[in-house]
Symmetry: C3
């Protein structure tokens, strides 16, 4: 894993076999990002878990086979809220809330660090989710 | 709905049940954004309408069931030109030009305000579309 | 094709029938972008080729019919590494590594120019790929 910063932009390259969230958490910690936006993420993911929120709970599904990571967008607010789309060998696309994943070949991730806007999450008693709070 | 700005970045949180375009239009108005880029949009949408331009007209389809909003990209030039991808409970992804939608649970939207580049739309007589003009 | 810059942001409009990569290469050259990020890309593509890396080689497929360009993310490091998602007339989404494409109707592309971070690609003997190097 390697990353560099320029102004409020972080460009990171994750390597094959790395745990996606472990790597991202390390970057966020080392770059001192308490609030941020995931602007872009491409490469491949394998053994990843995607979720769909059915109004009460997340319905989760694990995909073992590597897929092309087609897009990634999300927010960093202490914890991560990341959605992504992935394509299989027939170019069919699957997507949802990313719960976990392992880097396949390489991941190129771009993060925007927020310095003034403060993002937090607080548990919503009704849904059990932790929706974003912007301060 | 809540939003904050930092430099030329706007981070917005839309709440369950809000009309997506009404909320975005209010943000754009209050932030005085005449030209901008939608960098990111995640969460859920319900009762949304997607379109495919067949060369002559938009073929539109309404999806009533909530889906995970997997990605959103687009431009703001007086009017909006927004494309998005959404995933159902089986992680299958649908996408196209977003004509309308209602926020499900939450939407996290990030907008880049352009100050120097001026984006406009002018009707093209051949296609009936209003393609982007950059000045 | 037309483009304008503001700070480190380039907003481009590609026109119907243009070769996608020829246009992007011209923009990158004229804007003197040796390292950059493709933040957004919407519109339509036709006669495009998508790839899936199976661990040894890219499995490629050509799609002739125009599809809505739903998302585009990637890096510029001398060469391009671009992933995108596209939707057909039934809103089904296909995606992967973009090898080639022709602009349908219009493409709106947003690029972030990196000035300090240097992106390069060097051939990996094991995979035959040219993974990103960040300096």
């Amino acid at each position: 894993m390697k990353f560099k910063t320029e102004s409020n932009i972080v460009v990171a390259k994750l390597d094959d076999g790395e745990d996606f969230f472990e790597s991202i958490e390390r970057i966020v910690k080392e770059c001192n990002i308490s609030s941020g936006i995931v602007l872009s993420g491409i490469g491949q993911l394998k053994n990843f878990e995607l979720g769909y929120f059915d109004g009460k709970k997340y319905v989760r599904k694990t995909f073992e086979k590597p897929m092309e990571l087609v897009s990634m967008q999300g927010s960093i607010a202490g914890t991560f809220h990341i959605h992504c789309a992935l394509a299989d060998e027939k170019q069919n696309v699957y997507g949802g809330h990313l719960f976990k994943g392992v880097v396949g070949v390489v991941n190129e991730i771009v993060i925007l660090k927020l310095n003034k806007i403060k993002l937090k999450r607080e548990k919503d008693k009704k849904t059990g989710l932790k929706p974003l709070k912007i301060r």
